[in-house]
Symmetry: C2
Subunit: 452 residues, 2 copies
């Protein structure tokens, strides 16, 4: 019987994260101060983020960053995650492609998010912070941060996007089980939230709105720092543990990926699996293709513009050089709440601009069709977010079939969908729809992007 | 840093199940035909179960049974599960005990149940069966069977206990995602269900009632066999993969358990982890202690009687020699739906009778208190069922602390509780209560047990 799962012993878990900023051909442009439009220094971020995270954010020189021993110790509770060869999916697709997935859904929080949550909470703790706050789209990040905060003895307050609270009440309960407080966003507890509710009382929120509220809480509360689940470069840095493990595991399997695929919200799960392989494109002449799978309803990579824009809806963040749909873009209420974000991280934006990776947009029903196929072949019910990566993988595997190519595809299964069962129920009942964004809507929202 | 997780490579996964019936000092008494009261032969079970399962059920001679290659191949999608040293729980309890747990919650179905679901579905398939049916208490077994049936190309119909459908709607959705049909039990679709509803229209069901309905469907439908999630000896046989793996993993850790603990519903998760270690008590002079943790509200091992009784509420099954509260016993609506069963499997019943193992009963709130401690230390939200094992482990670890004993405790974390979040929500809100059964109620129900 051929081997299905490739495991690493604790001693083989990587002890450093990979910082792609140090090795990419063109570095990302600097974030700008929202008032002065001057390039930011790490110190400018200290009031918001842990100082170490602020320095990592702007570090364009060190390719390798040591994982602190305390974080590594916690990683060892659930890492390394398995690399799995999806034989049954291959068979169902009748494809000559070899499909591998990195199974980040095996950890007890249910997604990759905990990889950065532990790092951010640890740095906060080390720097004497007592409280952390954050936003969460699907609730995966919020649950991970709630656990990480508890682990390092911090209090956590989470703004969960309102529509996500309705779709995924179990995730709020998870956060409370770990001792965090949870509030629906937009809320009346911040000025940002009140303004949004005043403008549109029925607004069910987005990651952009929840970020505004969390930043406001962090900057107006003593001993409190803000933490973020994706988009920023230091978050992606922490996620590179995924790809670094996968690299060792692909070696065990005796293969190397021709294509690496991940779903795309802000970019941390994508960068996490892709950047460690991308370094061999930069340094060793490899020609692996990298595909980010975003939702059709929130198509910043495929249809957005490369502009300086705010990372949040209320304009509290620095201006980031990103592919964006405009910070006022209100994504449709798709079930993949973790992908409902208007912009892309600065590293991925630069890579797209430089054509070093590509992106595809996936309609919601195609994502769920692929998810159902995956569940019924591989036995794992994937998160709606991860299902976008599966759908893109199915497309590539079918292309390989047509071309008769024995291609090696690796995708990141960023999380499971057990908390998202109502979405599957809706899909099975035929109640899910696709949301294609009109050119007019994109153009209208891009008008709100500041001129820099 | 000390090692936390002990893993096995695919080549190290055991290839045989351990059949404790062949080696226990006193074999279980034979099941009796409900009409004639004569000892059953395997052929008598063929109309209900797969023939191979029927033979395994009564096999008291072969200590080792080969796992079919097709089943082993599917096991390799998620096995071996990790053995984990619970350092953070030990620290929180300030105990000198070394606490290990076998983490069956890492598989994508969420519990150990899939180990037997795959075996039973495979044997049905091999014997030309087209449809399988079953009951499910908490939904863990139903979800596992739905997946296993899909995997081997069978149609599955599941009777889910009504209260469980209300408490855990996501589990019904999981079953439907894998393509199974799901009905609440008692239902109007069987005579057994109609009778129960007629007697008590508000009755929210139990495992005993759902078993009656599934057996009735199996025996009245062409090409249809019944499958069971626990209680019977062949189900427990399939679960011994847990303990056999754990034995190898404890060797890696350089320790051997003084105490093995598992929660107890029908006995399959308990036997699965315990019997492989128990064989060394029988054969090699080991003196490991084995503790089954049952709910205070359904105390068959601690307060039931050893009698021949039916396995189901309507009296369709053979008479089994078991510790029982009476097949008409209606357990309280605790959240640990998988433990709401009136009787114990025949092997465990004999072992309790022979004082080769012990049992404790755990109040619901003590189980959730232990669960919360476990979640906040080890990061895993346990299933309400498994929480009973954790509570019993906490008791033992605190005893070890008092005695200053560096005891080695192993418990089976049979599943995660992500689908049971409403139970945690209720616990955190102070809405959960304990249900102590009165002596009168036990005596009254034991009057309905047939005289044999």
């Amino acid at each position: 019987m051929p081997q299905k799962r490739f495991l690493l012993q604790e001693s083989e878990i990587p002890t450093r994260w990979y910082n792609v900023q140090a090795e990419m051909p063109n570095k990302p442009l600097p974030p700008l101060h929202p008032g002065t439009h001057q390039p930011l220094k790490a110190e400018d971020l200290y009031p918001i983020f842990a100082e170490e995270c602020s320095r990592q954010e702007l570090n364009q020189t060190d390719a390798w960053i040591d994982i602190p021993e305390e974080v590594l110790d916690k990683y060892k509770s659930y890492r390394a995650t398995p690399l799995v060869r999806a034989y049954d999916l291959e068979k169902a697709l009748d494809t000559p492609a070899h499909i591998y997935f990195k199974n980040e859904s095996t950890n007890p929080l249910g997604s990759h998010k905990v990889n950065s949550a532990l790092a951010q909470a640890y740095y906060c703790k080390r720097e004497g912070v007592k409280n952390v706050t954050t936003e969460t789209g699907a609730g995966q990040w919020g649950a991970a941060l709630a656990y990480a905060a508890r682990t390092f003895g911090l209090e956590a307050a989470v703004y969960q996007v309102k529509i996500s609270m309705q779709q995924k009440p179990y995730r709020s309960m998870m956060m409370r089980t770990f001792g965090a407080t949870v509030e629906g966003s937009p809320s009346m507890s911040t000025r940002a939230g009140k303004d949004l509710i005043t403008q549109n009382p029925a607004y069910s929120g987005s990651l952009g709105s929840a970020i505004s509220e969390a930043i406001e809480l962090a900057t107006t509360t003593p001993d409190c720092k803000y933490t973020l689940g994706s988009v920023l470069s230091h978050v992606t840095l922490h996620q590179t543990i995924i790809g670094l493990e996968a690299e060792k595991q692909m070696q065990q399997a005796g293969e190397y990926p021709d294509t690496v695929i991940a779903c795309f919200g802000g970019g941390s799960n994508f960068g996490g699996v892709a950047f460690p392989f991308m370094r061999h494109n930069f340094n060793d002449g490899r020609t692996t293709e990298f595909i980010a799978a975003e939702p059709e309803s929130c198509p910043k990579l495929t249809r957005g513009e490369f502009r300086y824009d705010f990372g949040d809806e209320s304009g509290y963040t620095p201006l980031l050089p990103m592919y964006t749909l405009g910070h006022n873009f209100h994504p449709a209420n798709i079930h993949a709440g973790g992908l409902r974000y208007h912009g892309a991280g600065t590293i991925v934006s630069q890579l797209i601009k430089d054509r070093l990776m590509t992106a595809v947009d996936i309609p919601q029903t195609e994502a769920f069709r692929a998810a159902l196929l995956f569940a019924r072949t591989e036995g794992i019910i994937p998160a709606p977010e991860s299902s976008h990566a599966i759908a893109a993988t199915v497309r590539e595997a079918l292309k390989a079939k047509e071309a008769g190519q024995q291609k090696v595809i690796l995708f990141n299964l960023s999380g499971h969908g057990l908390i998202d069962m109502t979405a599957y129920d809706a899909y099975l009942s035929g109640d899910l729809q696709d949301y294609k964004v009109s050119d007019t809507e994109i153009a209208r929202n891009l008008q709100d992007v500041p001129q820099v």
